[in-house]
């Protein structure tokens, strides 16, 4: 029952090759050429890949990535697709025909994208901040907060509670201001080292709040300059940086 094509990526070459059985569930992965492009695929059923089994899912994702990495190494420039992109056939039309006509229609667009991505890779930058250090510094330096916290000592229990609430609100606002400032600063610094930047949603991980989550597109060899800039940020006591990559350019297609 083979009716679908699982699509990994589009490559900038029409060489017809097989990658061997490295696909999801050890399927054979190979290229289908169209003009000077190629699609890296394996044949599959029309059922999307889904599972409740964590290990299984993990192995699929790693396999998906491996195939893309492999193609990336071989061909240099690729357009990666998201997980589970499966092309299906229609009545009296093979999935392969469907894919060919899609490649035909989107040819210009795909070529443009490929030329934009040539020689470049995606890097992930996540900057975490230490709320404790930042708030301690604000408490030490902010005049209004200092005044309030001095006043608290002289107040009755009930009043002190109200004061504390007020204090916390002010502190929260100041922290927001501070992080906004850092965000802009870091963003500009990263921007100066990369070709393109995408701001992704921040997540909470391991109790550490994330200040910013960026995906950047740049020439692979330029990652050193970027790394140098990130070192400077990482050396600040209140921030830590996670720098990942090079990834295939998932975020810039």
């Amino acid at each position: 029952m083979v009716e679908g094509i699982y699509l990994y990526c589009i490559v900038d070459s029409n060489k017809k090759i097989s990658f061997g059985n490295i696909g999801l569930d050890n399927n054979e992965v190979y290229t289908i050429p169209y003009k000077d492009l190629g699609a890296v695929i394996h044949k599959c059923s029309t059922e999307p890949y889904k599972s409740e089994d964590k290990e299984k899912v993990k192995s699929w994702i790693i396999a998906h990535e491996k195939v893309i990495e492999n193609a990336w190494e071989r061909f240099g420039t690729i357009i990666p697709l998201g997980f589970d992109t499966i092309i299906i056939g229609e009545e009296e039309r093979e999935p392969e025909e469907n894919m060919q006509s899609w490649l035909k229609n989107d040819y210009e667009n795909l070529k443009n994208k490929l030329s934009k991505l040539e020689g470049k890779a995606e890097f992930g930058i996540q900057i975490f901040w230490d709320i404790k250090i930042i708030s301690e510094r604000i408490i030490d330096t902010d005049k209004e907060i200092k005044k309030l916290s001095d006043e608290i000592k002289t107040k009755s229990k009930g009043l002190a509670y109200m004061y504390k609430q007020k204090l916390e609100n002010i502190l929260k606002k100041e922290i927001e201001k501070e992080t906004d400032r850092y965000f802009k600063d870091f963003y500009d610094r990263v921007k100066s080292c990369v070709d393109e930047i995408k701001v992704d949603r921040t997540k909470k991980e391991e109790e550490k709040p994330m200040l910013m989550n960026l995906s950047c597109l740049l020439a692979k060899e330029k990652s050193k300059t970027l790394g140098g800039e990130l070192d400077k940020i990482d050396q600040m006591p209140e921030f830590s940086v996670r720098f990942t990559g090079p990834w295939p350019p998932y975020s810039f297609v």
Partner: protein, 372 residues
Amino acid sequence: MEPTRNTHATLVDLLDRILDKGLVINADIIISVAGIPLIGVNLRAALAGMETMLKYGVMQAWDEKTRIWEREHRKRQEVSLLNEEEVSLKIYGSYYYSKGIYTAWRSGYFYLTNKRLILWNGDFNEIIFQISLEKIKGLIIRSEKYFIKEDREILYLIGQDDKVERIHTIKTGEFKEKIEQNLKVKGIFLKENYVLPEFEEGPIDFLTEGEKVTHREKKVWYLLPAQGILKETWRPGHLYLTNKRRLCWWNYFERKLVFDLPLDRIIGVTVEMRKTSEFGSNREKVLDIIYQVNSTRRIASFSGKQIDEWVQVLRGIISDQRDEEIETCPQCGKTAPQKELLEKGCSNCGWISPRIKQKTEGRKQRAEKTTA
């Protein structure tokens, strides 16, 4: 710092990329879930260890519903255009809609074409506002208070008959430039520094043709006369004075005009400090307008921040009125301005009004007393 790829944390990073990103084929040829969410949700559920079928099922149903809604919704979202009409800009924005008693900022997408400016509400397939470019006479940007929030930039669009429309978009300045560009293509150049014609915000349906408001205040309290079992009460509203000699008060709550007085009927205007509330002991300046209806005298009371200004304006008008009124001398019948007759007497026969006589006589008597 060298980029890394091999820790647990990078797996999460990778996961985000592979599940949420990558080229998305927007076509019918792929399994419908390729737009990601369904699969993404399923896989994420597995990875995050949220294996409960319940949650899974709920999200799946929700996802499908969202998808169906989105699909149907998308079908009818574009405005229909005329022949050879091309959209050059589409931007989200709003327009101050005021018709009859309904006034509100209504929002949608502005479509700027080579022929028209259209505000289109895709949800209801409705054109909220449109104007052909030829009819635009002026564009002015001003900042204006938006509810209680900060000022925001409003584009005033002056159409034919000096009708003013108020428009807001996120990039008002750019929007104005784009409109001007399109006008230029049509050979239309707007006057710079166009002076914003007088226009009324809110209810002006009570104005007759050619009638214009000459003086206004947004928040004036009016002592609404007792009605049935209702006691007289202070109510907020707008007070207007028009060039057709009307004083009108528009009730904010009922959203209609409840006081409409031709200025000729005003006999006098006084000001007094009075309590305007049963609660508290604050006294406020109250303007009392005494007027005549079918030879009975009535009083209308107003209060507000600019009450002194109103007193001045109204007194000015009333004294003008007196100046202009011509009366005949009761003794010889010579015509003279009423004011002159009343205050100075008749220049022909020497008649003096009894009130003035009394006053001067009183003064004389007092003077005699003091000398005595």
